[in-house]
Amino acid sequence: MARYKMVVDLDRCQGCRACMEACKVENNTPAGVFWMYVFRFEQGEFPDTSISFLPRPCQHCNNAPCVKVCPTGARYKREDGLVLTDFERCIGCRYCEVACPYGVNYFNWRKPDHAFDDYKMDFSDPDLVAFTGGVVPPYRNPDHDVKHGPEGRLTSGSGHFKGVMEKCTFCVHRVEKGLVPACVDTCPVGALRFGDAEDENSPISVFIREHESFQLLEELGTDPSVIYVGGAPPSTESREIERPMTRV
């Protein structure tokens, strides 16, 4: 069994937020929802200021507070390290959201927008492949409507039901096909890495061994699967600048 981890190289990150966009397109998240979120920070007083960036996907904690508090087991941890939500079981109590110290959960406040449902097509149709070259158009990925993993639960994509909690899935639908998450694939400077950390010779294990790293809010004992390399954790001095519109 693999044990997936993500490495964020803060020395490389340039804060372009392409990963945020890739995530939105891949997972069809509603307006104002950013499963992958990139902080742009400013520190110090003018004129001695510095700026830094910090991508924040779900941390997929090994000791996840959200999994512990979920009253129905809709939020669960898989052996491959992914923390997922069963959208068909979630009752929408939002306990996971208040328990999470990282603020990665997003609730479906509105009715999901099914305006694109009519566009659902069989993208494996040869006629269509001749036209698309095998690329699945971004507006509605059919992979989100099938169940994933040996446990067979509806866990990928966004906007299935109203009143249900959603968050970053590490792109479970891609990982199960042997692909890396959309954000990792998109990053133009290779600041995001993804792989199996259980295999000691995998590139990600070697990378983690060879670099000094930290986890976000390590002191809480949540043991995140997202490892940060280079840079420094945000301090209380960090002020967020250039926020995208995030409130619905």
Partner: protein, 68 residues
Amino acid sequence: MKRSTIVTWTMIAVGVVLMVVSYFFLATPWCNTAVECSNPRVPFAPAIFVLGVLIAFSSAVYYAVAKD
């Protein structure tokens, strides 16, 4: 012992046993590292727990109402 007393004690015992068994053995195991940790070992185990609570307290009604 009277019959009503015996039935009352049986109801209490059954209720408590249901509670203990469903809480410690039938419900979700105390872990959060695998998929199994999100499913109860027996379906509707929490309902069995609640049933145990209901049976245990119903014994009071039975005892009060029962004719000897």
